[in-house]
């Protein structure tokens, strides 16, 4: 039942926020987000990693078709639910400093988005998963298209059509799988795991799933919607997209693609791996050349997600554990970085590196927070990025040595673009744009401090989180290897 509460609470909070009107919207939304975080933490305390799917519920939905409204939390879900509920209140808080028009709608959309994301991460029925997977698009589409930048209409439209195009293929695959289940059909994901599918069918299904998730993450060459959308969206929407929504794709790979079509994975996994590795290098090289800070971080995110996907495609314990911990770490880092860009933009009205410089001179706090998050992102030991990248690279290395070597370049390239970002914006002579730059306010620090704490927590003692997922991942790998 806790799962149901987790899904419904943000919806209820969203509706209340919407009805409460302009003045109270911010505060109510924040309370709603924190309440969800509270429930998620409580769930975590009750959670037993070894016990499989817990706190579930199941209601008949389309009774005759054996489709049910069913969700539950296992280790993998737990981690992502924690990520979602931890980041959402921070995203809401980070929006406080900007005055968005029509705030009631703005904040309620964020909360609706949170509900849909939790739904995706907990659904145990394939069609419910699909439903939330699509439904998550609608709030973020409106967020980006109403409150976004100049080109928002064109860019978000492309994003919407692109991603929905991908997921429709997944729908076909799910319908097909549903009819392969024996007896009166069922759409439980766990029933799909048991199917004995022919290698040819698995090949087709592999691509149907792959396209859906590769567009969502995005992987090379399906990424063309991403940098524009990240750049044009208002920062809270960008944070939702990069911090959490991107994880839907990786989660889909782990939850559906890997265990349902292991033979498809054997046939095509190598190609998928190559695409992921190309994405890592390609994203990094483009990131090095960007001068718009938001676009730069967008490409860095594209490069990081490539590595996560590569880890999943290696279908090894290290790869999956690495991908999961990296999802957590990447969510934290990327949200922090986007927030810092937003802070700089709101004070200087520019995001271009050539116009910035010398911010450190007046901002000790900002510099430190920025540096920590940035080092997390370049995977310095003792920061959160290191654990994930280490596990991921080792899994890719085991898969194919030379691929591991190529993917390993990400560490070098990552430090190049990240340090360039820092150097050009923070150091050097003070440019005229940064005259009178104020250091962080209390509410800005309230967003960054929890993020920085998490950077160190995951970096120094990752097993808090690794042990949540380990039994679930082992179970999954057993399925894959049989």
């Amino acid at each position: 039942m806790l799962t149901l509460l987790l899904i419904l609470l943000p919806i209820a909070a969203g509706v209340i926020t919407l009805l409460a009107g302009e003045r109270l919207a911010k505060q109510l939304a924040l309370v709603g987000g924190l309440a969800s975080l509270g429930v998620a933490t409580f769930t975590w305390l009750q959670f037993d990693p070894a016990a499989g799917s817990q706190f579930g519920f199941k209601y008949a939905w389309v009774a005759s078709g054996g489709i049910s409204f069913a969700a539950g939390i296992d280790g993998i879900s737990m981690l992502l639910v924690l990520l979602t509920t931890f980041l959402t209140p921070l995203i809401i808080l980070s929006a406080f400093k900007n005055d968005y028009k029509n705030p009631a709608a703005f904040y309620s959309l964020i909360l609706f988005m949170e509900a849909a994301l939790i739904g995706v991460f907990t659904a145990t029925d394939a069609f419910l998963f699909y439903l939330f997977f699509e439904a998550a698009l609608i709030p973020v589409y409106f967020l980006s298209a109403i409150w976004g930048g100049e080109d928002r209409i064109k860019v978000t439209f492309k994003f919407f059509i692109y991603t929905i195009f991908g997921s429709l293929f997944m729908l076909v695959a799910l319908v097909y799988l549903y009819y392969q289940t024996p007896g009166t059909h069922t759409s439980e994901i766990s029933a799909f795991y048991q199917l004995q599918l022919s290698p040819a069918a698995q090949g087709y299904l592999f691509w149907a799933f792959f396209i859906a998730f590769a567009i969502k993450m995005p992987l090379f060459p399906f990424h063309t919607w991403q940098p524009d959308t990240y750049t044009q969206s208002p920062t809270p929407a960008t944070m939702l997209l990069s911090g959490i929504m991107l994880k839907m794709g990786v989660y889909g790979l782990i939850r559906l693609l890997l265990p349902i079509v292991p033979l498809g994975m054997q046939q095509w996994g190598f190609l998928a791996m190559i695409l992921a590795v190309i994405g890592i290098i390609y994203g990094s090289i483009i990131a090095i050349q960007q001068s718009d800070m938001k676009t730069l971080i967008a490409y860095s995110s594209f490069a990081h997600v490539g590595l996560m996907a590569a880890g999943v495609f290696s279908s090894s314990l290290n790869g999956l554990q690495g991908a999961l911990i990296q999802m957590l770490a990447h969510g934290i880092n990327v949200i922090g970085l986007f927030f810092i860009v937003d802070i700089i933009y709101s004070r200087t009205k520019t995001r271009y590196l050539d116009q910035l410089g010398g911010i450190t001179q007046s901002t000790p706090h900002l510099s430190v927070y920025f540096m920590v998050l940035l080092l997390g992102s370049v995977a310095l030991p003792l920061t959160n990025g290191f654990v994930g990248e280490f596990l991921l690279l080792s899994s890719v290395f085991q898969y194919k040595g030379w691929l591991g070597a190529v993917a390993g370049l990400t560490i070098i390239l990552g430090s190049v673009y990240m340090l360039r970002l820092f150097q050009k914006s923070m150091f050097g002579p003070k440019s005229k744009w940064v005259e009178g730059f104020q250091d962080l306010t209390a509410s800005e620090r309230a967003v960054l401090l929890p993020l920085v704490i998490m950077v160190f927590w995951i970096g120094i003692y990752p097993s808090t989180f690794l042990k949540i997922t380990e039994p679930a991942v082992n179970q999954l790998l057993q399925l894959v290897n049989n």
Partner: protein
């Protein structure tokens, strides 16, 4: 059967009401009639099947469900017609009378058990529609549309009648049961080319009525030229009745499935292509909806192609979802196009919707939900409609057609979202649009049902 009798009587009463001086009782009376007819429809619920009129009409839960959709749509359409008081030339009593009579035709089509009944039903429905299409007498477009519809429709009817004759020649009977028996004999190996030819010709006639490609050419012009209220009527009621009739016909000749499935499959694919690709290049919202109507006929044809157990429910559900969204889309279009009219002509272009979210948030929301539903986005009824259709095809094992349908749905999103973009993200003037309370209730009802069936399609399942 009760609605047939009641609607015939009510139609005559409505015509006489036209003589009364007071125009204001007409609309409430018609709404009352439709409610009564809708209620009477469900008297026989769960008791059937009944056979009436010398074995010519069949009543079972499926036909009652289709009747229910048709009558509910008619009620909503009549409610948003507003009594036709904005045009001095109009003849409300006659329009309402024709609408009621045409519903009789629709119900006959839905429940036919005899080809003559089908023919009578189609003709009653069509003749009324020819007249209503041309009801805007002083408008050139409306006249053109009526003439086009009449000429093309007459042609299609000719094909249909010829087909029926050939079927009679082959089987010696007009009864569906006899045709069914003959078809199963053919399945055993007894060939009859006259039967094949007859069936194909009959199908052509019917496919014309539901505007399936390549018999769709009349649709955009007629839908655009006709007064919007009658376009709504055509695109919901005629389509639902047409698909109900097609379903009965194909179900009756199921024994020779191997013969016709590929024909219907190809037509389904063609219809989806023509409808969706045609809709992308339209500048007029109304004309886009005409093409979208064609594309939805294509999706419905997939369910007919498969004709598995879920198909029946899929067609009913899809028709309902489609009718609800179409009525709200046209309902909003009528208001907005009149508000933004240019030189007395309603403005039906996309630009007319710019800034609608500011001018009237409710209308913008209704329109957005109806577009999302037509596009088949989850949490709306339209999603489950498509879903059930895809599952019916998957059960038959025809995956390739589903893949095409999925690709076409993506195209659909492109044109349905244009109007959402206009109303939410583009700036227009800030003149508020007023909506009559009753009109609002109907739009909200349609939207509410769309979302309700989107969240809990199981409710509907319990009803059927």
């Amino acid at each position: 059967m009760y609605p047939i009798i009641l609607l015939s009587v009510f139609g005559i009463i409505t015509l006489f009401l036209g003589f009364s001086k007071s125009k204001n009782i007409l609309l409430p009376a018609v709404l009352l009639f439709l409610i009564v007819a809708l209620g009477s429809n469900f008297i026989e619920w769960g008791k059937g099947p009944f056979i009436y009129f010398n074995d010519m009409l069949r009543v079972d839960n499926l036909t009652l469900a289709f009747n229910g959709i048709v009558l509910l749509s008619a009620f909503m359409i009549a409610a948003i017609s507003g009594g036709f008081q904005d045009n001095a030339d109009s003849e409300p009593a006659e329009y309402y009378g024709l609408m009621l009579f045409s519903l009789v035709g629709a119900i006959m089509m839905i429940g036919f058990d005899h080809l003559i009944m089908l023919f009578i039903g189609v003709e009653i429905l069509s003749v009324a529609m020819y007249v209503l299409t041309g009801s805007n007498k002083r408008n050139l477009r409306s006249n053109e549309a009526a003439l086009k519809y009449l000429l093309m429709g007459a042609f299609a009817t000719g094909f249909m009648l010829f087909g029926m004759t050939l079927l009679y020649g082959a089987t010696g009977s007009f009864k569906l049961a006899a045709i069914q028996g003959f078809a199963s004999n053919m399945n055993m190996g007894q060939q009859s080319y006259i039967f094949y030819a007859g069936l194909l010709l009959l199908l052509i006639g019917m496919l014309f009525k539901v505007s399936a490609a390549p018999f769709h050419f009349w649709t955009p012009d007629v839908y655009e030229g006709a007064p919007t209220i009658f376009t709504t009527f055509m695109s919901t009621i005629v389509k639902t009745a047409g698909f109900a009739a097609l379903f009965r016909l194909l179900n009756g000749t199921f024994a020779i499935y191997g013969f016709w499935w590929i024909v219907i499959a190809i037509i389904a694919v063609l219809t989806m292509l023509v409808g969706n690709i045609g809709a992308t290049s339209q500048g007029s919202f109304k004309r886009m909806l005409a093409y979208s109507g064609i594309s939805h006929a294509g999706y419905l044809l997939i369910a007919l192609t498969a004709l598995t157990k879920p198909s029946q429910n899929a067609i009913v559900f899809y028709s309902l979802a489609y009718s609800l969204s179409t009525i709200s889309a046209f309902g909003v279009l009528m208001l907005v196009s009149k508000e933004k009219s240019i030189e007395g002509q309603p403005n039906e272009r996309y630009e007319a919707f710019n800034g609608l979210a500011r001018q009237n948030p409710l209308l913008a929301f209704v329109l957005a939900v109806s577009m999302l539903s037509l596009a088949g986005i989850p949490l709306t009824a339209g999603f489950w409609g498509k879903f059930f259709i895809f599952t019916s095809a998957a059960e038959r094992g025809i995956i390739w057609i589903t893949v095409i349908a999925v690709l076409m749905s993506t195209v659909g999103i492109y044109y349905y979202f244009r109007v959402i973009i206009s109303s939410y993200f583009r700036e227009g003037d800030t003149v508020k649009i007023r909506v009559a309370p009753f009109y609002q209730i109907i739009l909200v009802l349609a939207t509410f049902l769309t979302i309700l069936f989107g969240l809990a399609p199981g409710i509907f399942e319990k009803l059927i």
